[in-house]
């Protein structure tokens, strides 16, 4: 029997597979495909205080093994999401993670407080790294001081475990990760999407109205792995690896690099049952490598 569980310190997950925000809806949509109970945890689509309609199309552009998106986080607002959370909690006991968004620090705090009060919610993930809300994509994650201050304020106002999701669009990921840790983060997740750009030769215009968009998918995996490695080397809190994961093998590579768990993103929209396949592949790889628990491989990269 292989043991897929992973201990984040504040919670033990039955396996390291978490579905990433924005690629898994509110979970309900995947019920037709598989039983949500199999997941380690799932992150709901990012939420602001008020309803948001999202960016004007086009919202996606395919690249070689990747996907640029400028969706703009459409959502029903915090009040409506509370109802949805209650509904999905009745469907599954898999830990629910709320991805907290905000256009201002005040909004972040307000949204975090709303979901902090809900028993159905296990953890909060602070989305300080969403790059495509405003033109140019500036976000708290690009500034150490802002990251520290925001994380610190949220920690003061909430009691649930806090994951801070970092942006890869920074010069020095370590300093941002350390700021988040010092601010009181219980866990770091990374990476969010890489800023990219696409142009249309026919119209001689950028494809996206916001000019830049976020790149995800298999194309970013090596970039993500490098940033996860750097983060693991810099902080003492657990790290959740995200970026282009499509297979059990990819998951094991992130864990070997030092991640305690992973988030599965873009592949969910391509292959709805990807998580089921990936969990099975992890088991098969563990058997093949003759390891009984993930701790035997976690962070054991030989340098």
């Amino acid at each position: 029997m292989v043991d897929l569980s992973t201990d984040l310190g504040f919670i033990k997950l039955k396996n390291p597979v978490i579905t990433a925000s924005g690629t898994f809806g509110y979970g309900e949509e995947f019920q037709d495909f598989f039983n949500l109970d199999i997941l380690g945890a799932f992150v709901l689509k990012g939420i602001y205080k008020n309803p948001k309609s999202g960016n004007s199309p086009p919202r996606i552009h395919e690249t070689a093994s990747g996907l640029l998106n400028s969706i703009g986080l459409p959502g029903p607002g915090a009040k409506e999401l509370q109802k949805i959370v209650k509904r999905i909690h009745r469907l599954t006991k898999t830990p629910i993670i709320i991805n907290v968004c905000g256009e201002s620090d005040e909004e972040y705090i307000e949204v975090a407080e709303i979901f902090d009060k809900m028993d159905e919610v296990t953890m909060l993930e602070l989305n300080i790294s969403c790059p495509n809300i405003k033109r140019g994509g500036k976000c708290p994650a690009q500034d150490e001081k802002h990251t520290y201050k925001l994380v610190n304020q949220i920690k003061h106002n909430t009691s649930k475990p806090l994951i801070v999701k970092l942006s890869p669009n920074v010069n020095d990921i370590s300093s941002i990760a350390i700021s988040a840790e010092q601010g009181g983060a219980d866990c770091i997740s990374l990476v969010n999407t890489f800023l990219g750009m696409a142009v249309d030769l026919d119209s001689k215009r950028p494809v996206f109205k916001n000019l830049f968009a976020g790149l995800s998918g298999p194309a970013i995996k090596p970039l993500a792995l490098k940033l996860v490695w750097e983060t693991v080397q810099s902080v003492h809190i657990p790290v959740i690896g995200i970026g282009g994961i499509t297979s059990g093998r990819d998951v094991m590579e992130f864990i070997l690099t030092g991640a305690s768990a992973v988030q599965i993103g873009t592949i969910n929209i391509v292959e709805p049952k990807a998580s089921v396949r990936i969990i099975k592949e992890i088991k098969d790889i563990m058997k093949k490598l003759n390891i009984e628990s993930l701790d035997e491989i976690k962070g054991k990269l030989k340098i």
């Binding site: 037709d32 309609s53 999202g54 919202r59 395919e62 093994s65 459409p74």
Partner: protein, 254 residues
């Protein structure tokens, strides 16, 4: 909806750019309705990464048919599939047209827009009078006559931009007269966006009930990624994949 690995039973080249693919799927063929579409995995690699949406052209259990034009990388790959190749498909997806009885229905198809229209003719022609307007750029873009002619149609109007088949002109040219002369109750149309824009101006206030089947750039096909947003008259976004692809013409902001 289900994702399945299916067998391609035939991938028939109709002419240089158009293909009709027959796929065996008991589940999709039995559960699909006019307007539904499928997401097709055109490559086992991650390039291209996304599945591609295709309307269902015909469904006769255990088979479905897809009619497609080679326009880019994805459709080029799809054109290379051979008999007995396996292909992953997710479906049936999207909403569908309501049921109609004893109505005079005008179907308007521009180019590849014939796909959901053909399926609709097949479904509705038993209990309704069907009029079809079908147009495309030129003769090579106006395909599947034999299949279309085999259906029970009250009248068929053909158009090409260059006059190589049927009347020279746009598919929308005489729509207003056709509706008035035949006392049409309902229109169902599918085609490129400019066709819809012209059509709206011509028939929005004519008194018919107008359904359209929309195309959009899609990511997932089942409501997760929010890529296929279309603006509605009241400035909200609807998702073509789950709120559509069938919409009332007057609900969309043109």
């Amino acid at each position: 909806m289900k994702e399945q690995r299916c067998f391609v039973k035939e991938n028939k080249k109709i002419n240089e750019n158009y293909f009709l693919m027959k796929i065996k799927s008991e589940y999709i063929s039995k559960n699909s309705k006019p307007g539904n579409f499928v997401m097709v995995n055109v490559s086992e690699t991650f390039d291209p990464l996304l599945k591609r949406p295709f309307g269902i052209f015909k469904s006769e259990p255990p088979f479905i048919w897809l009619y497609f034009e080679v326009v880019g990388k994805g459709t080029k790959l799809l054109s290379n599939f051979k008999k007995n190749d396996k292909i992953s498909i997710l479906g049936p997806l999207g909403n569908s047209l309501p049921e109609f009885k004893n109505k005079k229905i005008l179907m308007i198809a521009g180019g590849r827009g014939i796909v959901p229209i053909f399926y609709s003719i097949h479904t509705y022609s038993q209990h309704n009078d069907i009029f079809l307007v079908y147009g495309a750029k030129s003769e090579k873009d106006l395909n599947l006559y034999e299949e279309i002619k085999s259906k029970k149609l009250k009248k068929l109007f053909l158009y090409t931009d260059n006059g190589s088949v049927g009347k020279k002109g746009l598919v929308t040219s005489d729509v207003k007269n056709i509706i008035n002369n035949n006392k049409v109750d309902i229109t169902i149309s599918c085609g490129p966006e400019p066709m819809f824009k012209t059509l709206v101006k011509k028939i929005e206030h004519i008194g018919t009930e107008n359904y359209i089947s929309m195309e959009a750039l899609m990511g997932c096909g089942f409501g997760i990624c929010h890529s296929c947003a279309k603006k509605t008259k009241n400035n909200n976004y609807k998702q073509v994949c789950t709120d559509g692809p069938i919409f009332k013409m007057e609900d969309i902001k043109w």
